[in-house]
């Protein structure tokens, strides 16, 4: 089912001696919604720009439908981009902006009119043809930018943090709308963001990047439930990351005692990172818990409470719908399945 449309092979890139991408290998399928996720400076935008043709990789290949396109200029690539700050043509009105790509292809005026109308309906801005760009709100400009790219019917749409400048409510709405558009048109989206929630909401596949390297590729569920290292765990949602020792298979020691777990395949007594999601720690009466602690602080987060619990010399973040008041003694219970063991990332 994974019919490949784009492949990056050993792509590396540096700017002025600074390595921004190292050995990127990535295969992107037809009709897939792929998100490049990572903190700023991780190389996600550079990866997108290499696919778009705005940067040339120092080494490695970009393969589009089986053909190398390493040095093909952007105007010869069958993909379109939605830019971070929209990059609309302010000297043209909405119609002229959207028709720009079609006019270059010398399309019939009647067809252009029809396509512009269709795509404006798709982004819910019917009747905006004659409007000037500067008279539109940020959200509307964003829709025009998306329409301007989509009207060319590209096989792949690149989106560079397109919702970054919008407010939270609008961003949520646009996330759903983008996902709907992607599914109804059946084209490949490659989406760059630093917002993990956005990535989890929209993507089929998430590519987590850090310091120019891919950390993990997987479905949102994989990435969230089975992060490969403490960085991914921490970046995707909140995590408790604790130093531990993997005594033997299925048995780990941390916070002063031994725990059953479901991981294996480490060296005996290897130092590891133990990752526990805040929502996976159950609060029980003090005497029934595996670890005892005292509630230090409570923050109301809407659906749940976020509590910091001090126990065994460590601070544990716990998410629970039940609130325990500050200074209460509580017990914490963790099932073996919720203890994630990760190899220590050796920091260079």
């Amino acid at each position: 089912m994974h019919e490949e449309i784009i492949r990056l092979v050993n792509v590396s890139k540096s700017f002025d001696d600074q390595q921004v991408l190292q050995d990127i290998n990535l295969s992107i399928g037809r009709n897939e919604f792929v998100t490049l996720l990572g903190p700023s400076g991780c190389g996600k935008t550079t990866t997108l720009r290499i696919i778009g043709g705005f940067e040339i990789a120092d080494t490695g290949d970009v393969i589009f439908e089986g053909k190398k396109i390493n040095n093909l200029p952007p105007y010869k690539r069958n993909l379109n981009t939605v830019f971070q700050r929209y990059a609309l043509f302010t000297h043209m009105n909405v119609y002229e902006n959207i028709a720009f790509g079609l006019k270059i292809k010398n399309m019939d005026k009647k067809d252009i009119d029809r396509k512009v109308k269709e795509v404006l309906r798709l982004v819910n801005l019917s009747g905006y043809e004659k409007r000037e760009i500067n008279s539109l709100s940020g959200g509307q400009q964003q829709r025009i930018a998306i329409a301007r790219a989509l009207v060319n019917e590209p096989q792949v749409l690149l989106l560079d943090e397109p919702l970054g400048a919008l407010d939270l409510k609008l961003r949520k709405d646009m996330q759903l709308e983008l996902k709907k558009i992607q599914q109804s048109l059946g084209i490949t989206f490659i989406y760059v963001t630093h917002d993990q929630e956005e990535a989890l909401t929209m993507s089929d596949t998430i590519v987590v990047m850090k310091d120019g390297r891919i950390q993990q590729i997987g479905t949102p569920q994989d990435i969230y439930n089975e992060p490969v290292n403490a960085f991914v765990a921490d970046f995707i949602g909140e995590s408790n990351i604790i130093d531990g020792v993997m005594v033997k298979d299925y048995y780990v020691e941390f916070a002063g005692s031994g725990f059953e777990c479901v991981d294996k395949g480490f060296e005996p007594n290897e130092n590891v990172d133990v990752v526990i999601r805040p929502e996976d720690i159950k609060l029980v009466p003090a005497e029934e818990g595996m670890i005892e602690g005292v509630v230090e602080s409570v923050i109301f987060k809407g659906v749940h409470y976020e509590m910091i619990i001090y126990g065994r010399g460590l601070r544990w973040m716990v998410h629970s719908t039940m609130m325990e008041p500050v200074n209460t003694k509580v017990g914490m219970k963790i099932t073996p399945y919720d203890i994630h063991i990760m190899k220590k990332v050796t920091e260079e």
Binding site: P74, L88, N134
Partner: protein
């Protein structure tokens, strides 16, 4: 202190140095002063429209227009080169470009005279190669050369200042939509730079239309543009009335062309230097 009190010095300045001189020029242009006293007359304006003076107007406009066109053709690519360089080199280039403007205007123009004159540098070099040149100095082309040389920066800088402000992402977006570099220039860069172009045209055309120094030095004593004509009336023939009438007509012409350009710029949200 109230804010409007602080405006008085400026108001006074404007009154003394702008309004009063303008009023005097208007006054001289429509009144004649002789032994019988002061009386109203349109005689000065009638003289402006005599064929011999109309020819001077026509020639001035023609030379100014040609100079402006050459400045635009040379200046636009120059501005693009300046705008495309990376930052450190860019400021150096801009400075190199501006330094000649710090030199005295007359000195610069005299320098051209020594280059172009009969036994000047260029003639000497060409003679060495056995080429006999026609007179380089005191022709219409020499005057145009002087104007282009002196006014080129006024064309380049406004265009440059608009070009550097164009968002790179907009150009990438055009390329992304299938535009070759030539189409990107024609459909995006050039239209976005028009405010700078119109500023540049105004800033070159006006001094080119009114100058009398360049035409005097490089065009010779008998090469007359409007500027020279007005200078003559005030300093040589002492016909202040006619000189004022010429000035008024020239001012009207400039105001009309400014008005056209300004309206155009308002439509394009300004930019440039105005």
């Amino acid at each position: 202190m109230k804010k409007h009190l602080m405006a008085y010095p400026y108001a006074l300045w404007i009154l003394i140095f702008i309004i009063v001189p303008l009023a005097l020029i208007l006054f001289y242009s429509v009144f004649s002063i002789d032994a019988e006293g002061i009386h109203f007359t349109l005689e000065h304006f009638r003289r402006v429209f005599e064929p011999i003076y109309l020819a001077v107007f026509f020639r001035s406009i023609k030379i100014a227009a040609i100079s402006t066109a050459i400045c635009l053709i040379l200046g636009y690519p120059m501005a693009m080169i300046l705008a495309s360089k990376n930052l450190s080199k860019k400021s150096l280039l801009v400075v190199l470009f501006v330094i000649p403007m710090w030199m005295n205007f007359l000195a610069r123009t005299y320098a051209w005279m020594t280059l172009l004159e009969k036994n000047g540098l260029i003639a000497t070099i060409m003679e060495f190669f056995g080429v006999e040149l026609p007179s380089l100095l005191y022709t219409e082309n020499t005057v145009i050369l002087g104007m282009v040389y002196n006014f080129l920066p006024f064309m380049v800088l406004p265009i440059y200042s608009v070009l550097v402000k164009i968002d790179k992402a907009v150009l990438e977006a055009a390329e992304d939509l299938g535009a070759t570099p030539i189409i990107v220039f024609r459909r995006v860069i050039f239209p976005l730079s028009l405010p700078g172009v119109s500023s540049g045209i105004i800033m070159v055309f006006m001094p080119a239309l009114t100058t009398f120094v360049i035409s005097r030095l490089l065009g010779g004593a008998h090469f007359t543009l409007i500027g020279n004509l007005i200078e003559q009336q005030f300093l040589t023939t002492m016909d202040w009335g006619f000189g004022s009438a010429l000035s008024v007509v020239l001012m009207l012409m400039i105001m009309v062309s400014m008005g056209v350009a300004m309206r155009y710029e308002k439509e394009n949200e300004g930019g440039g230097l105005w």
